[in-house]
């Protein structure tokens, strides 16, 4: 899922400083699961913002709503009346959701309440780790299902580097060396021979280096 984290209240206060009637929109999908932008966080940040603004002598009127998904027009369109009766929108979705709102509601500012971080998983209670960069040409089959593109700090495709230890990556003691994980995993599934092959340089064209990507699936078009 997409993992995000909330911006500090101080920054949000700056962002909405010009408005005194605003719509806070939560998203019921990824950011709800990662406890950053669901109904609950919208509630908590509304309390904080109202109090902060009252203390600053400029009360703010906040309307709260959380929709199923902010990245799909089907769910966004019902927001129109609420957007209309407010001066601006503070979106608690990932960057994609914020932009979806911004492109739909042309006459209202739409601001991001979260810092969108990465594609990852819930590793432990309230601990998320990054697993995929969305490189557009997945190589997981070669590496026993562990992504060196994302999880090796140097993105080595023929690792490990000289600084690797069994415990951790040389750049961060809290992070396992991706290549140690790859080695253990390939050993476990009897595919250590894969390490004999030299992996050629990665073709980055399918990744975002060519600008924002677009996918069209003709078989599902109407």
């Amino acid at each position: 899922m997409i993992v995000a984290s909330p911006k500090p209240v101080t920054e949000l206060k700056e962002i909405v400083a010009a408005h005194d009637k605003i719509l806070f929109v939560g998203c019921g999908t990824c950011v709800t699961v990662c406890l950053a932008g669901g109904e609950r966080e919208v509630g908590i940040y509304s309390y904080a913002m109202r109090m902060a603004r009252r203390l600053a002598g400029r009360p703010i009127d906040i309307e709260q709503v959380t929709i199923e998904r902010q990245c799909e027009n089907e769910f966004i369109k019902d927001l129109a009346p609420a957007v209309e009766r407010n001066q601006a929108v503070l979106s608690f979705a990932c960057g994609a959701g914020v932009q979806a709102l911004a492109e739909r509601f042309l006459n209202r500012p739409v601001y991001a309440a979260l810092n969108t971080q990465f594609l990852g998983i819930l590793e432990d209670q309230a601990v998320w780790t990054e697993k995929c960069l969305g490189c557009g040409d997945c190589m997981l089959a070669q590496f026993g299902g562990i992504c060196p593109v994302t999880r090796c700090a140097k993105r080595l495709l023929n690792g490990p580097c000289g600084g690797s230890t069994e415990e951790c990556c040389e750049i961060d003691k809290d992070r396992p060396c991706a290549w140690q994980v790859i080695y253990k995993r390939l050993k476990g599934i009897g595919q250590l021979d894969r390490l004999e092959q030299i992996v050629p340089p990665k073709d980055w064209r399918p990744a975002w280096h060519g600008g924002a990507r677009k996918i069209i699936r003709q078989e599902h078009r109407v």
Binding site: P8, V9, I44, Y47, A48, R50, A52, R54, P59
Partner: protein
Amino acid sequence: MTAAHTQPGASAANKGAWEPEIIAFCCNYCAYAAADLAGAQRMQYPPNVRVVHSPCTGKIEMEHILAALEKGIDGVLVAGCLEGGCHFIEGNLRAKHRVEHIRGILDEIGIGADRLRMVNLSAAMAPTFVERVREIVDTVTNLGPNPLKESAQQGVVSK
């Protein structure tokens, strides 16, 4: 959550002077029982505290605390079991982290973290309960009224 005990601010109305209004969210298995015991033993503590009976401090959502402060309450005490003694194993540890998070927000928005405090005690620790109540009443008395109090009482609160 159920009933309240004492009448907060009752003495303030009589004297016309500001007296802190404190909410104590008390876990059923420790602080609530300790407050009960304190009462049964006729121990005196400031009447500024309204006790809110909670099944566990882990059940106290951040929104409950923020809502109380937005409505103008001067201080909030979250009273749970001793660490390691939670009847739901880790409810009080969850509460501790939530309280810390809200204290950070309170500092950020200018209300001040000191208006919110979490304490740990057992059901038998009535004197400790009384002491913690006195401490937060003192702290909040020194801080003065919640700056949101006035506008809250004018009905500005929207929720």
